[in-house]
């Protein structure tokens, strides 16, 4: 085995992973590593002994989310302004699942979302930030939870999203600068589906492009030729579910690949030989759920893992036990628990990552393998 690197970057939130093996360290310097090893053991031992929560501290997490906008004396707060709209979606959905959607003031939320819309219909990550498909999708998700689509120009949104499709290839660009990724296919399809306007795009071509991203392991990547990754798999399987093309998925092979993401500590990783991370409790689990195979994961161990990643002092959930929390992992820890049937949480829809009652209110049919059958 080659030496593995420690990834130091930790700011951006799009599908990052670490390369550290939890089993061993590859030290450069023997002495330093010796101290490091002792320190690490002590540190891990102390957190493991004192903090093994076996329940979900909903009140704490609600307070944590409410406190997010107060961290104005942290540099981090300002460096992540471009994620403000995403943060509202993550926080609001988490609150709704915890039966506390009113913990954020509805008028303020809607006002904020509206202020992020541009003339061309697209939304930016924050006020004054350029329009992008990702944030446009988040905006629609938030407005559906708040049942306030009438606050924005929906037709313009449809126009913007439709304009992102390359009619030759069926792929979607994130914005006018042309990045292509199946994440954007999902954002577009989910967004338009929630607006009941899938007619605005070429669904057949969109599906063809997604299928070009299918790999030898049954999984999907970001672009044709790209390696399978759980987050991209969620995007592709979710998109295919919406357009009624799940029959194009090799459900057994992919279901198997997905359940192999579960590691000994109960957590899930995003692809082979990578570290576990709470956010994969969503990307992997939702895809499995759509394919009717969520029971292929060891439920108890995963619940245990997610609960252990809670911070009992500040509230919130981290990417793994002992790490710093953030709203992104808080949401996906909760959605993971919801998919596993954890009590006290609303049911989440595995295709849209919205509370099920919101999807029902919009009037969308259940779009996944309702029955686990036809199994070869």
């Amino acid at each position: 085995m080659g030496p593995k690197r420690v990834s130091l970057d930790s700011r951006a939130l799009e599908f990052k992973e670490d390369n550290i093996s939890t089993n061993y360290i590859q030290p450069d310097d023997q002495l330093l590593s010796c101290f490091g090893w002792i320190f690490r053991c002590l540190f891990m031992a102390s957190t493991e002994k004192t903090e093994r929560p076996s329940e979900l501290f909903i009140d704490l997490h609600v307070k944590y989310i409410q406190s997010l906008d107060t961290k104005k004396d942290d540099l981090e707060y300002w460096l992540t302004e471009h994620l403000r709209l995403s943060g509202v979606y993550w926080g609001l959905t988490a609150l709704d699942l915890m039966n506390n959607v009113d913990a954020l003031n509805k008028e303020e939320v809607v006002k904020y979302v509206v202020s992020c819309q541009h003339d061309n219909g697209g939304f930016g990550g924050h006020i004054g930030h350029d329009p992008h498909l990702l944030y446009t999708h988040y905006a629609v998700l938030i407005l559906q939870i708040e049942d306030s689509l009438d606050a924005v120009n929906v037709e313009k949104i449809v126009e913007y999203v439709a304009s992102r499709q390359d009619r030759q290839t069926g792929a979607f660009t994130g914005d006018e600068w042309g990045e292509i990724d199946t994440r954007f296919s999902y954002s577009a399809i989910s967004c338009l589906s929630l607006l009941k306007r899938l007619d605005a795009i070429d669904v057949k071509k969109a599906t063809e492009f997604i299928m070009l991203c299918k790999n030898f392991d049954g999984g999907f990547g970001s672009t044709p030729g790209a390696e399978s990754h759980a987050a991209q798999i969620f995007c592709c399987v979710g998109a295919l579910a919406i357009v009624n093309s799940l029959h194009l998925v090799d459900a057994d092979l992919l279901g198997w690949w997905l359940c192999e993401r579960q590691l000994k500590n109960g957590g899930l990783n995003g692809r082979p030989e990578k570290l576990e991370d709470v956010c994969y409790s969503w990307w992997v689990l939702s895809a499995l759920s759509i394919l009717g195979r969520v029971h292929w994961i060891n439920k108890e161990k995963l619940i245990d893992f997610i609960l252990t990643a809670q911070d009992l002092e500040t509230g919130g959930i981290a990417d793994r036990p002992g790490d710093m929390v953030d709203v992104f992992h808080t949401l996906f820890g909760l959605t993971g628990l919801s998919l596993l049937g954890y009590h006290g949480l609303k049911l989440v829809d595995p295709v849209y990552c919205l509370p099920k009652y919101v999807v029902q209110r919009v009037g969308l049919a259940e779009r996944y393998h309702a029955k686990y059958g036809g199994f070869t």
Partner: protein, 632 residues
Amino acid sequence: MHGRKRVKPTAEVEKLRKEKEASKIKEYNGIVAACLEKKNKCEFDNEAFILTTKILSQNPDFYTIWNFRRSILLNEISEDCSEEEKQQKFSSELLFLQEVFRHNPKSYWIFNHRQWCLDTMPNPDWKSELDLVSKMLDMDARNFHGWNYRRYVISKLSCIDSNALNLSKTEFDFTTAKINQNFSNYSAWHQRSKLLPKLVEDEQLGDQGKKPLIDQEFELVKSAFYTDPDDQSAWLYHWWLIGREIRHISILGAYYDSQNYQIILAFDDEIGMLTPFQVAYKNDTSQLNIVEGHWRSVSGSSDVDRMHGSVWIFTLNIESGFNELFVTVKPEWIVPSNSEVKLVSNIQMHCQLPEQNKDTLILMPPQTVAENTTILSTASRFREDILPMTMHERINLLKREIATVKELQEIEPESKWCLQTLLILLRELKYISELNTEESKNIDEEVITICGQLINIDKMRTKRFEDLRSRAIFETATNNLIQVSPNAQQEIIFRDNRLFMSEKSQLPTFTLTNRNLTIIPTPSILLHIRILDLSYNKLTSTIFLSNLIHLQEADLRDNCISSINGVNNLRFLRVLNVQSNLIESWEAVRNGFVKWQGGECKVYVSGNSFINESDGKKLKWEKEMDKIEFCY
């Protein structure tokens, strides 16, 4: 945030940090405000450019600033700007990116900007980009941004280099090098799976050249999984290399119920109906005339676009007794349940109502591709564009690989990958060979044993192995439920007699108890069953019962059922035993009988946790559904 350890600093330390950051925050916000102001005013000057540099060095995820920076650059090169000057601007831009990349090797925005620069500059140096990305992958062989970028660079190079095949070969060798450095390089194996088909396509290779190439692949993969049997990359590649046959959907049963003016079809897959199957009769001039009616799936599952199910019933509009009916199902009229299953040819059925077989629709000879021996199903993943094999060669390949893996399994009895691979290979062998019942049964038994071993070794994925085992057990048990009549291609008779008659009732009976069954994979095969005993198993759902349209008695005692589903259309159901399951409320039982289509039915419920609730509910439900009697 990813990978940041939780720290609980003291109030003192916190205070100091905030003081330190206060000035940084002010400075940063100042720069951002100034920059955005310039952007809004469309001031694409050098001052603006410097502001973007400052911001992006600190915060490369601020995508709006990258957009602005690009606008500035475009503005600069659109004015009187020589090719040299343009080139120079972009070269420095690439250097800047490298700096930023050093601290942020996984930022989408950095890669985007680099790509944009190379696409926009007059003379991009693709070779040097290739060197750069090779170094990147040396540092971190699993960075998928790096691999994506590499594919992008290669695609650009292949536009210049007229010999695209050469590039594929070089890339292929690159993956070989990476794999030899570390067999556990999933990214490299993945890349290889995209390149191998291209190499094999090479016309110059010819059939003579293909075989050694493929053999080499098998050798490489074998040494990989022998060296490290725990690494999944090589195993997965191996499975892909061997490929899988597409399963053909077939009809398990077809009936014309002339008394009820219904046609009943049972498929062995849960299909979706895109276009209603055609039902017709022949008039005096032998023309086919459509018979009006409607199809429904008995499982009742549907979404906005289509119905799904394995058993379908067509009810004729006119209650007239046709002597002859023709039913057609075409592949383009259905969707299968997943990508590995297909209807490969039209199915046509002709019902003639001969005296003795008046309930059987006769299957016309299928219009398939001639059963020739050279081409395998074109839809198998690997074979479709690579190596045609005869059926015989393919069987030999499977047997050879099974032997290879079994050899390793003897050395590494605890290796779950060996066992999982054997499962796949054995099932494949069973599917494509024309095994007799004995051989088929042996494979099923081996599969059942292996599943048992896997359940012990891999505790995380127990339920999946239980499902696989259930499938093998069910298949063995239902092996001779369908029989092809002596007229072979022309008739499929659903055996509802002899072997499966219970002595007591002389009705078709199916029993499979105490086998740890977790699922019923192909319930439509039980279409004829009147008496069902699946007690003492681990079933969690009863929804499969909807396929058993003739069901009279079902014993599902001692399973893991939590609610009743799929029974409301079972008109003949008289007895349902769900004692000792995991039902937690009266609602869970009662909801299964909403819109109950049948007559009287007794439901046995003792041994479930909810029966401690008051009998009030029981009486209430019984009044509501006066034909259902809940018994203990």
